[in-house]
Amino acid sequence: MIFYIINRILQSIAVMLVTAFVCFILFNYVGDPINNMVGQETTIQDREALREQLGLNDPTVVQFFRFLRNAAQGDFGISYRLQRPVKDLIPERLPATLELVFASAVLSVVLGILLGIYTGLNQNTWVSRAILAGSLAGVSLPTFVIGILLIYLFSVTLGILPSYGRGEAVQIVGWWTTGLLTISGWKAIILPSITLGLYQLTLILRIVRAEMMEVLLTDYIKFARARGLTDRVINFGHALKNTLIPVITVTGLQVGSLIAFSIITETVFQWPGMGALFIQAVHFADIPIMVAYLVMVALFFVTINLIVDLLYFLVDPRLQIDRGEAGGQG
């Protein structure tokens, strides 16, 4: 078991190092960093001086280690377009994205489990069928289309919810601003979080439903029924517990996707988060921001995957035997 954990941690570090190396290549060799920083009229001597000063003439290995050291300290240089340190830009944008992701995750888990239980227990009612048919839209429609349709319905036609921004944000601790303490902030987060969370909601709904249907056929549930326990105790005390293991895994892994897909949702709703910043950086070839975003997202993904893997390991004792033997083949 300890071998497995160490193996997984080493793998995660390897993934991070590869990502960092790709970023480093992007940073130093795609385009000329000096050209991106100075104006047309800078003389060749000045350029060479700047090159020397930035250490761009050092051996690649030395440069890579310097890049790693700076990245570990959150220093990704100065944005080409905004002319401000990336270190200052990220904290401005991070809370908005994390709040959006958090709201979508809560929404999709709560609604997904509730609707999953309902459709799993009442399989043939028309309500269940309607929910399942509706959930098809969640998997087959592109995120931005869902966003546009929601905007058209709730903002343009009905005019009850805002279609852009995150409402009034207030500062709480340090640099963290939140929109969750104002009414306009709550109104603003409704449509984006539905848009972002719909796919995950569908996924969780379908998993819970399938697991529920499977578990209800097992012997221990029949036994519980034979003991004369009430439906409520059986459904929620016995059956639900066993459906939740895959939900934990999927939710954990999907948090990564939520962060990735927030790029799209943030663009549709002009949400002032990391994703919107990244897309602008791609438009303007603003490499420092792209690199910073890449490293952060990779770190997020790797950490979440690691936690989910370890969690899975703890939740499901069967794995502790299998994984130890089949470790290398996965």
Partner: protein, 305 residues
């Protein structure tokens, strides 16, 4: 003879399952209409939306024909430059389909090659390729496509990039989806390579590359083609999303995603048709390809569910 052949097709299980699934028949019909209309777009479209000479700026923002102020000259209305929406959608479908198909072909070529090598040769090469696939599968393909496209945008000069934008797009979407094909191919190859006919080929000194090309490929392509149908729908979605984000195809040759992005600016000023019709077209396209893919998967390879 032809009638016997036709009879065999009609009597076959697959055509039974096809004709008895109205949803599939409907989506096949829908796909056929979209395919034909986009293949023949230059002939069928009532207006040439990309010829500035034929555009009349006075016709801009004409609503659909059945709304007050609309004319049947432009059945679905016009956009901000006076382009006929119906025509731009037909051309947009064309680009979406081209990108969808070509990028899936690219994914299959990469995925099948790597998967086959991985399954047939095994050893450290197998471990390396599969770890790579695992690592890539943890990141959503849309993010990978976005990154590849972003890097191309940074490293290529702007004029060149606009010119080859569509190929960059195909490449980045294709690169993003190979691991699934590699996995399916690898497991298929590992089953096939232990069968007797492969052993026979090996003892008769057939070169491993020939064995893979002649004997293994035909036997692992089935599940790959089923995956590919759903892959096309997925690729169309990614293309539309990237174009919507403004990093896909340039506005001069708009795909559905580009059209939606352009129209999105006018959603609030009341010109809903500029966005909503391309959105509806995209939904129809993705949904019908998806439903056909689902049906294919259920019919040919129930194990993949």
């Amino acid at each position: 003879m032809i009638s016997g052949w036709l009879k065999r097709i009609i009597d076959h299980d697959i055509s039974y399952s096809f004709t008895h699934s109205p949803v599939t028949v409907l989506s096949a019909l829908m796909t056929l209409i979209i395919l034909v209309s986009s293949a023949l777009a230059p002939v069928l479209t009532p207006h040439d939306p990309f010829n500035p000479a034929s555009l009349d700026i006075m016709d801009a923002f004409t609503p659909p024909a059945w709304v007050d102020g609309g004319t049947w000259k432009y059945p679905l209305g016009t956009d901000d430059q006076g382009r006929d929406i119906l025509s731009t959608i037909m051309f947009g479908n064309r680009i979406s389909l081209i990108v969808g198909f070509l990028s899936v072909i690219l994914s299959i070529v990469i995925g099948v090659t790597l998967g086959m090598v991985s399954g047939y040769i095994g050893g450290w090469l197998d471990a390396l390729i599969m770890r790579l696939a695992d690592a890539q599968l943890t990141i959503p393909s849309i993010l990978i496509a976005l990154l590849v496209d972003g890097i191309a945008r940074v490293s290529l000069p702007r004029e060149l990039h606009d010119e080859i934008a569509i190929y960059v797009l195909i490449f980045s979407i294709g690169i993003a989806a190979w691991p699934q094909y590699a996995r399916v191919t690898r497991s298929g190859t590992m089953v096939e390579k232990n069968k007797e006919y492969i052993a026979a080929a090996r003892v008769s000194n057939v070169h491993p590359v020939m064995i893979m090309l002649r004997h293994i490929i035909p036997n692992v392509m089935g599940p790959n083609l089923v995956l590919a149908t759903i892959g096309v729908a997925l690729a169309i979605i990614i293309e539309a999303t990237l174009s919507f984000l403004g990093v896909g195809v340039p506005p001069t040759t708009p795909s559905l995603g580009t059209l939606i992005r352009i129209g999105n600016e006018f959603l609030f000023s009341g010109e809903w048709w500029i966005t909503i019709f391309p959105v509806v077209a995209l939904i129809f396209l993705v949904l019908s390809v998806n439903l056909i893919g689902d049906w294919l998967r259920d019919t040919f390879n129930p194990k993949l569910r």
